[in-house]
Symmetry: C2
Subunit: 498 residues, 2 copies
Amino acid sequence: MSPYDKMILISNQLRNIERSLSLLAWDERTYMPEGALPGRSEMNAGLAKIHHNILTSREMKKCLDKLNKPSIYEDLDDLRKASVKEITRRFEKKNNIPDEIVEKIAKAASQGQAAWTKARARSDFAMFIPYLEKNLELKKKAAEYMGYKNEPYDALLDEYEPELTAKGVKKVFDPMKKGLSDLVDEISSRGSSKYDKYNINKTFNTDTQKELCRRMARDIGFDFHSGRLDESVHPFTVGMDFDVRITNRYNEKDLSSLYSLLHESGHGMYEQGICKDLLGTPIGKSASMGYHESQSRMWENFVGRNRNFMDYLYPLVVEYFPSMEKVGIDDFYRSVNCVEPSYIRVEADEITYNLHIALRFDIELGLMRDEITPAETETVWQDNMEEYLGLIPEDPALGVLQDIHWSSGAFGYFPSYALGNLYAAQIFNTIVDEIPSLFDHLSKGEFTPLLNWLRDNIHSNGRRYLPEEMTKRLTGKSLDFKYFHQYVKEKYGDIYDL
Amino acid sequence: MSPYDKMILISNQLRNIERSLSLLAWDERTYMPEGALPGRSEMNAGLAKIHHNILTSREMKKCLDKLNKPSIYEDLDDLRKASVKEITRRFEKKNNIPDEIVEKIAKAASQGQAAWTKARARSDFAMFIPYLEKNLELKKKAAEYMGYKNEPYDALLDEYEPELTAKGVKKVFDPMKKGLSDLVDEISSRGSSKYDKYNINKTFNTDTQKELCRRMARDIGFDFHSGRLDESVHPFTVGMDFDVRITNRYNEKDLSSLYSLLHESGHGMYEQGICKDLLGTPIGKSASMGYHESQSRMWENFVGRNRNFMDYLYPLVVEYFPSMEKVGIDDFYRSVNCVEPSYIRVEADEITYNLHIALRFDIELGLMRDEITPAETETVWQDNMEEYLGLIPEDPALGVLQDIHWSSGAFGYFPSYALGNLYAAQIFNTIVDEIPSLFDHLSKGEFTPLLNWLRDNIHSNGRRYLPEEMTKRLTGKSLDFKYFHQYVKEKYGDIYDL
């Protein structure tokens, strides 16, 4: 067997474990009985350990040593080269981490999440600090083992956004902070800015919402033959190649479920669009977390909150909720595009959302650089919230304790969310050029032209190209805040009459 | 680390994979989208391979070599000895099977099941023959690698019923065939024998059935904090230690769901009763498949079809289905105890059920002994059905194609079903002695005394004792058909006025 075929065989085994872990994660958040939790953590840790052992096995090392010899590597075609690069990248990152640290990290993550759940429920930041310290300390160690370009934070960021550095993030985030803060100020200064979000004074039967969401998922192109839609406390997506599952939540007080449905469907369709030939190979997955988020945001915001999309969506909403006829299409459009500074990231609008992310990035970079301590994060959070959004969260549950990420040591994850929005804006700008009739299609509820473009240009490629190269291929340029800036200025300038 | 602790660590890893495979199996039959099937087979095969590799690893071999040295083994306490014996038994059975055969068996099972599904749908036995041949041939090879006491069939039987042999099965099945056939003849000769099974002329809302089933599961002691009840085409149970899931099916034409619920709850409560300290160790599982079946049959038949249980069940049925009041408790009792020869095993009554099993055992033993060929099984089936039950299935879907087992090479599994009934009868006979007020409790819907007895004497022990030893400990005797014989003679003698 050739070293390439052997490497693919091992990659398939890794993928089988990843798929199993995904099913465990899905089950844990949908149907798992409560008493199963302790056993489940053990299963997760057990499979993760097997995964680590196979990835860093002697067999794998032997394959990669051979495959990376110029004489062999140069004879591979481009797709195979991409696979070898990706698996080598993963191997090298993980190979030097001692088993003992891997286990400590898993344990600290598990304990940190449990502590966070309690701390958030009690809004007690002090009790969470030791867990934050422990997770941070271990991730700093891991960063040293993994290696980095400029600074330890880069090693962690690279897990989610391959090859991006803190410096690279700052390059787009700095103008973003300025540009969006200014825009928020402008909007806030308009007296007429408040629209009733999702017409909150009505109630919406949740079973009817579920039917409507299922209908929309089908309409935009989510494939139920190889997928499911379930319910969970926090919506999420798991991709297991031939089996992609999205979840949603329903609140009878508003129609936010329509937008979380569009968001998760965007993630789901990305997973469903990866070229079948790549599945099981090292590049049979999304380009990055940021790219994943670009697809969810594309459908949620660039499509779902677009004025033309209302021609499709509003009549559908009226069909399922006849009382919505009184609202009228224009007010409905405004109600789903209401901009207002708020405490909670996951409830934020298109503009303020990225400021929530910038705030988290500043803090986690400060932690990794030892410029701030875990104990100081609450104060820094409050200061930055005031600076960026004019709000001071007195209650840590509305501030520093609102997100789960740091409790499991997932430092470096947050930037993906904002990067997703920026990628989406830049890519959408290209799509509008390449599909001149795009907005007509959205009005008519014709989503195939857009989905096909995304499949052909993004989804099908899997991780063939890393984000930087992908963005250049798609748009001719590196990632730049200006596309997002222009998009929100135009859209909200119109809505808020700026 | 001591070799024992090291062995337990590896066993825990094996158990993590087994739990994951169980979740995959549960998901496949409850919620998995159709398009996921090909990827799912790969996941199953991938995890099974990892399991085999860990079980037969050099590390495991080193541990077992040390642990089986008399100087070390004799110093272990009884529980640890039982664990070492069980894992050594598993290791030795699997260690000699070449990887290549393991893979061929997995592939043939997967292809066989797919072919069986089609063949059964078309009732076309001829198209299934090559797959039956292939599976049989591979299992004969595997039996040689695994080793056996007297004959190849023993190696396969041992997978389900440790240490039992074909000879041992015949010793109880031969009198069973005679005793039950005679009884069926006697019952059939009574003109008044036909009772309307489950009062089939009514219809029963399936949502109401579901509620009633959930209520009954709770009442008898199934723990929903660490368990679930879902729906599937064929009811089944998976045990993942802290997480035990049963399923059921509902037919609006009858109340058979109540009995499949009792059956699966019996399996589920066995899994939930294994002592927590044993979980993850080699003996943290049921004593055997036959013992598992003894628990499901205990609740389904010895409890669920008992006259005293009707004092609990019938008012409950009337509560959920008020029109059942007209039936009256005595007719209801007779309707759930209707004896009548029929083609399909899973629909058979308490008495004819074991004859269905005896028929299958004769055939699979004949196949393994080369006394009959796969092509001949259809004819042998028809002949035996006529001899045992006076019926000849013209349609293979009602005969040789009705069960999935052989399509995946699971020869040696069928005896467990009948053994379960016989174990249950023998154990129930002891319980009636040890809990004199048992039938009073059943009348009153008090199930804790029985469940506690089962927990203390069976469930909690896991696989500490293999079936032969367990039966002697519980009842003072080896397994004997006479207990079951006496039970059915008394019960049905009364019902059918023999």
